[in-house]
């Protein structure tokens, strides 16, 4: 009996240690990601990288024989243009859908919508990219008489479709978090659903909705395969919606395989990785702080 008791205590101790270790694993992994990406790029980052050129030059010629130039301005412009377009489409539609699902529709329809959104979120990015490459490409060429359909417009639409599920589900959570007493009070005063929505719910849930938009932005900035396949491969600052561009993420995906390990080019790609990690980290952090702010109120 005493033996069994000791065994139990020991077992409890072991399992608790394992659980605690796994509990902090997420922290370890996030630091691990930063550490290893940083480690691969650090040599070049500290000794050779010209920061002014890196951030302000649109010239990205990593494999030039005579004069290698590593300027990511054009790549950042690519990421920005595609993300902004995607958000211009996805934010109104996503928030509109979130409002409809949360406030206007019947419980049954709500379930259906939620399932469809879940499925929409599950479509792999490479399939989205393939759709951009084939269907959207042809459509854009036909509709706009463009020479090529792999453009900012194509990537923006694809990214919008990909980030809508994020915006809808987080936005709906934000609306759900508004206490029902607010709704009851408004309805008791004779407000219609629409008046209730834009006079009461939108102001009350605006932080949560902002967080939803930010997470959509983070998703769009970090997306790789879809923009790699749908935006063409032109490293230039876009001047119209029908220009081809290349994003930060797509550049890493397209060039990492061809750059020799630990070459300058390879290290610069890791530095772009650090840049991406920092950007999405800031965006996610902001979104998280906004959501936390709501909960503490």
């Amino acid at each position: 009996m005493a033996d069994r008791r000791r065994f139990e205590v020991l077992g409890e101790l072991i399992i608790e240690t394992v659980i605690r270790l796994c509990g902090i694993s997420a922290i370890i992994f996030v630091f691990g990601i930063f550490f290893f990406v940083f480690r691969e790029g650090s040599d070049f980052l500290f000794h050779q990288l010209n920061f002014v050129e890196f951030f302000t030059s649109p010239e990205w010629y990593p494999t030039s024989v005579s004069h290698k130039r590593y300027g990511v301005l054009a790549l950042m412009a690519g990421t920005t243009s595609v993300t902004v377009l995607a958000m211009l489409i996805a934010v109104p539609f996503g928030l509109g859908a979130a409002i409809y699902i949360s406030e206007f529709c019947s419980p049954r329809l709500k379930e259906t919508f939620k399932i469809v959104i879940e499925l929409l979120a599950a479509i792999p990015s490479v399939v989205w990219g393939f759709i951009g490459l084939t269907l959207m490409n042809e459509l854009i060429i036909k509709l706009f008489n463009a020479p090529i359909g792999l453009t900012v417009l194509n990537g923006g639409i694809i990214l919008a479709l990909m980030s809508v599920p994020v915006i809808v589900s987080i936005g709906e959570d934000a609306l759900k978090a508004v206490p029902d007493s607010y709704r009851e009070a408004a309805e008791a005063l004779g407000a219609t659903r629409w008046q209730l929505t834009y006079k009461v719910l939108l102001p009350a849930a605006k932080n949560g909705l902002l967080a939803a938009v930010l997470l959509g932005v983070a998703r769009a900035i970090g997306e790789t395969m879809a923009v790699l396949m749908a935006t063409g491969h032109a490293v230039k600052i876009p001047t119209s919606l029908l220009d081809s561009v290349r994003t930060l993420t797509a550049t890493i995906a397209a060039e990492l395989g061809e750059s020799p390990v630990h070459s300058d080019h390879y290290q610069v790609l890791f530095i772009i990785g650090i840049l991406l990690f920092s950007i999405t980290f800031m965006v996610n952090l902001t979104a998280d702080l906004i959501v936390k702010g709501i909960k503490n109120k």
Partner: protein, 298 residues
Amino acid sequence: MSRNPFQETPLLRRKRQAEYIARSGFLLMSLLMICPLILIVCYLFYKALPILSLDFLLANPARGMRAGGIWAPFVGTIYLVVISLLVSTPIGVFAAIYLNEYARDNWLTRFINLAVVNLAGVPSIVHALFGLGAFVLFAGMGRSVLAASLTLAIMTLPVIIAATREALGSVPMAFREACWNVGATRWQTIRHIVLPNSISGILTGIILQVSRAAGETAPIMFTGAVFYKAIPEGKIFAYGLFDQCMALSMHLFTIATQVPDVPEALPYGTAVVLLCTVLLVNAASIVIRVVLRSRKKW
């Protein structure tokens, strides 16, 4: 003659019209968001129809990937998913148990939460860089099934943590208190009361992890997936842990962009198989969730 008391005043009419416009506008937005899913699935199926057959699934890619089927990539995807699942499920479930059952509301917990959120938000290509730096080069695994699976496992960890936490959180506190009161330890309570009561939610999380891992391309591109590697047809256990492998998502990318003169139906067929795998797995998780929720007794 007195006014009809049921006549709408102008204000009421404006209210009613605004309501109507808002309602139909939002409905339209929701539908416009859903239409693409249906259209895309139909379009892909329509284009892939000539090639879809059992032979397509069971044959290796042939003639420089311009003919044949998708057997090798299909098996590769199964390998990557299963191994990543074996790694991330225990870690993820235990992490969720820690957060939900053990953690107090202190700075460490807040820090962990922040880390989980950020782990979910790290771009997939940065995960690829991490996998390359940590597993392929630093740990010396080389480009292999193992390195790719580990990268996927870390990437999909937040999915399992989030789902498991939600499942654990939905078990009423009274269940735990009752168990503690009869003298059970923390772990015994978790093992015999909390876990059995939340298994459906955990299962949902695992299934979602499967669908996420099966669809990812960027993280495996540089850590273990290759353009072409044939395996014996009809044989499931064809890869070793340190072999490189093909994967469905990577294969779709390859034949859609890297190989010229691929017959049109081939990439569509691959896309449909990938899409169906992912959607079916997701549908399964939804069904499980609905069925088990209806059986819940509290």
